[in-house]
């Protein structure tokens, strides 16, 4: 073993000044935030109008600071205040900033030197270490920045880079996934708990988990007690970020030890080891500071008019519906967002991001939509984020709806809200939906012609709205438990209860509901585009008609694992349906299919049918659609035929089947009204008694695959 060469100490690893008993020196202006440097910690703070900035140091958890170091004005370069402080016990401290504004304060400023501001770049935050533990509001520093080591041992882990063709997304909530007593995990409701359920995810066949917000947020933000029950409602979903660089401590079994970063990384590493990607739902459209009545936590006290979109009167534009709007196309804010995502992609090995109310990120500082929003372009072309999936929720609460028109730079995908609405309307039995359903099944070429079907994240349900079982059990929302007189949550659900509102003993209605759930899952998993399944839908989870459980940290929102036994049939159905998708390249391909027959094999890649083969019926009253997929046209495609027929009619129909090819015969792969579970595992499809016809049941979906016929 050779002796390593001796490294000379750096000159800048020694102080030049003394402030308040601490050795300090002029700091480095980049990176912003707190950075460990030899012998010390570098603090860099941006504020375009501050007249003084202090670093306030605390012992962990203590209400009173141990020191407050005013950064000398000549340590400032441009508008960045930077100081390196030596001799800090950096595992033992928390830090914040005190920022003073100019005496001639502009009416758009909101400096408050009474408040200790948290560092927007903080990588670990204390103050909410244990989920739901009532905060000590006497402590004036609530969200307490700490220093992070970021020295996790990743071994050989790398982001997985699963192609869109192979991706099946599973949207879930860290806490809700294992918090239910039935989960049986060692640390319920945590990152560690999720790790214990990876075998379940693998078995189901999904290969990407998309987590509801995991950046540090305050579950007590807007928390309130329900008058009738005395129950405390918390912000369970977490769409109110406090710390964009910090993982939610209350989701970590180790949050009390400040080890949430390590636990989170262990979760990512474990998911990757199982071949499962991780995607984060990120919320850059607003922050937890709310409107002018909200708490001052960080941005507002640092540089209000840089970080927020303000009205001419200095109030907050509210395109997010939550009080304020992050000014994401401002160059400083844009840089903040880019740095944040780079950090998560590189330090946490995150595979992709779903941007909440992403349409807001198209708006300029006055809220006007931009044709070429610099943030969206920067993210699309960022070198570090190159392999990350970028998915836009392409609308906002200010009325900007951009599904199909989100500025995408050939890079961004979208939550396809059109897909959701059309599939729902079709299954509920609406008239005149068959034509649009065909377009959705084909990967929405009307919306994503240039980008291909990879731009279309197909889903029928997501966290926001009814669960799949509730979609077919309730005509209207039942959000009384939210304490807002049922005024919250969406009204346009395109739901149908099957004849009875809510739970019923009627076996016919219950059978129909179960079948409708299967119909939705089967259509989703046989459509072009990237499918997203909402966690719990595979077990028929109910929220008792509540379509907005953002504040319900209880059994209404949690995943009830006992359903994996009672509704094992549905789990098996989902597993088999995912396997069916994977078994057919023609279903997973991401180009938009052609209705011509370029290879002269006798069939186009996609063809449409009705009750009669080759005779699709686009008339408004028709509710039967057949789609035949032919795999000849896929690159390296072997002959492969898949025939999907959806019948939203309340009557059965005698289907005339198209002939796949000479010497090939149809085998039944799925029938949602047939023998349980409703989908056969690939390779066990059943030959048809009559190769030319099939009787499709009312409100059901069938799938056939072609196999060579003996003789």
């Amino acid at each position: 073993m050779t002796t390593p060469p001796r490294v000379r100490d750096r000159i800048d690893s020694f102080p030049t000044h003394n402030i308040g008993g601490y050795g300090v020196r002029p700091g480095r202006v980049a990176p912003l935030g707190a950075t460990l440097v030899p012998n010390g910690v570098n603090f860099a703070v941006f504020s375009s109008r501050a007249t003084s900035v202090s670093v306030v140091l605390f012992k962990i958890g203590e209400p009173e600071p141990i020191a407050e170091l005013a950064i000398p004005a000549d340590f400032r370069i441009g508008r960045v205040w930077a100081i390196t402080v030596f001799g800090l016990e950096y595992e033992e401290i928390e830090y914040g900033f005190r920022v003073t504004g100019p005496p001639d304060e502009h009416f758009k400023d909101r400096f408050d030197s009474n408040v200790i501001l948290t560092d927007p770049y903080a990588k670990v935050l204390g103050g909410r270490e244990v989920w739901g533990a009532l905060p000590d509001y006497d402590n004036r520093y609530q969200h307490r920045a700490r220093l992070a080591f970021d020295d996790f041992d990743w071994e050989n882990d790398r982001p997985l880079r699963i192609t869109p063709n192979d991706l099946v997304i599973y949207e879930t909530h860290v806490r809700g996934f294992t918090r239910h007593p039935s989960s049986g995990v060692g640390n319920p409701g945590t990152y560690a708990g999720l790790i214990e359920k990876i075998p379940y995810l693998s078995q189901l066949g999904v290969n990407c988990v998309e987590l509801l917000p995991v950046f540090e947020f305050d579950e007590f933000g807007n928390s309130r007690l329900v008058e009738e029950t005395g129950e405390r409602l918390l912000n369970y979903w977490g769409y109110n970020t406090v710390g964009f660089f910090a993982p939610k401590a209350g989701y970590a079994a180790t949050g009390r030890f400040g080890m949430q970063g390590d636990e989170f990384k262990h979760m990512v590493k474990s998911l990757h080891a199982a071949g499962i990607e991780i995607m984060l739902d990120v919320v850059f459209n607003h922050t937890a500071e709310g409107n002018e009545l909200g708490p001052t936590i960080s941005f507002r006290g640092l540089d209000n008019s840089t970080y927020y979109m303000l009205t001419p009167e200095g109030y907050y534009y509210n395109f997010s519906g939550t009080g304020n709007t992050f000014n994401s196309n401002n160059p400083v804010v844009r840089e903040f967002i880019v740095q944040c995502l780079r950090y998560w992609a590189s330090e946490y090995h995150i595979d992709g991001f779903r941007f909440d109310l992403a349409a807001i990120m198209d708006r300029d500082e006055h809220g006007v939509p931009l044709a070429n929003p610099p943030l969206i372009e920067a993210l699309a072309n960022d070198p570090v984020l190159r392999d990350c999936k970028l998915i836009a929720e392409a609308w906002d609460a200010g009325g900007l709806y951009q599904v199909g028109s989100f500025p995408n730079y050939h890079r961004w995908s979208e939550w396809n809200g059109r897909y959701r609405d059309t599939v729902r309307r079709f299954l509920k039995g609406d008239e005149g939906v068959v034509g649009d359903l065909a377009t959705r099944i084909a990967g929405s070429p009307d919306l994503y012609q240039q980008r291909g079907a990879r731009a279309s994240i197909n889903f029928v349900t997501c966290h926001d709205g009814f669960s799949l079982m509730d979609l077919f059990s309730y005509d209207g929302k039942h959000n009384d438990a939210n304490g807002e007189n049922n005024n919250d949550g969406a009204n346009d659900n395109n739901s149908w209860n099957g004849g009875v509102e809510g739970p019923t003993d009627d076996p016919g209605v219950n059978r129909l509901r179960q079948q409708q759930v299967k119909n939705a899952l089967l259509l989703l998993l046989t459509s072009r585009g990237i499918p997203m399944v909402l966690s719990g839908d595979e077990v028929g989870r109910t929220q008792r008609g509540n379509n907005n459980v953002y504040c319900q940290d209880n059994e209404l929102a949690w995943f009830d694992w006992s359903l994996t036994d009672t509704d094992a049939e549905l789990v098996e159905f989902t597993r088999n349906a995912i396997a069916l998708r994977r078994a057919h390249t023609v279903l997973c391909a991401m180009h938009h299919p052609n209705s011509i027959d370029p290879t002269d094999c006798g069939h186009p890649e996609i063809s449409w049918h009705g009750v009669r083969a080759w005779q699709p019926d686009w008339s408004p009253t028709n509710r039967v659609l057949g789609v035949m997929w032919c795999g000849h046209h896929i690159e390296n495609g072997s002959p492969d035929y898949v025939y999907v027929v959806a019948n939203a009619h309340w009557e059965e129909h005698e289907l005339e089947l198209p002939v796949p090819d000479d010497g090939w015969g149809w085998h039944l792969a799925a029938d949602t009204a047939g023998e349980a579970p409703g989908v056969y595992p690939p390779g066990t499809e059943r030959p048809l008694a009559d190769p030319h016809t099939y009787r499709i049941s009312p409100r059901s979906v069938i799938v056939m695959v072609a196999r060579p016929v003996a003789g």
Binding site: A192, A253, G258
Partner: protein, 126 residues
């Protein structure tokens, strides 16, 4: 924080007792870093450690990292349920040999040595 070291069959056994706060964790780290290069196998007994801070958990990981760089093995004994849980949740537990008692730790280390010897023999034979 008390720190004692003895040798059992070429295995260094370190017994820690007292509170493991960030300062004492640094001392422990230094002392173990000192003895690690000389001992291929080290057993650390935590059963007399009273309180544990996050700093001390990091210390354990650092010890592991140093042992790994040297190709040496560390067994830990007497972890409290809490520490066990924290190390488990963060994945650090996988890095250590976990033993029920000091004598088990020594035995586990010897078994490792035996295992390695047998593998070496097997390689030599082929």
């Amino acid at each position: 924080m008390k720190f004692s070291k003895r040798l059992i069959d070429d295995v260094a056994v370190v017994v820690l007792s007292g509170a493991l706060d960030s300062q004492s964790a640094l001392d422990v780290q230094d002392r173990i870093a000192e003895l690690l290069p000389q001992h291929e196998h080290v057993v650390i007994d935590f059963s007399k450690v009273s309180c544990v801070s996050s700093a001390s958990l990091r210390t354990m990981v650092l010890i592991y990292r140093q042992a790994q760089a040297l190709g040496h093995t560390v067994a830990v004994v007497g972890l409290s349920a809490e520490v066990h849980n924290v190390l488990d949740a963060t994945g650090f537990l996988d890095f250590f040999v976990l033993s029920d008692s000091v004598s088990d730790g020594v035995a586990d280390m010897r078994a490792l040595v035996e295992g390695r010897r047998e593998r070496d023999h097997a390689t030599a034979r082929t």
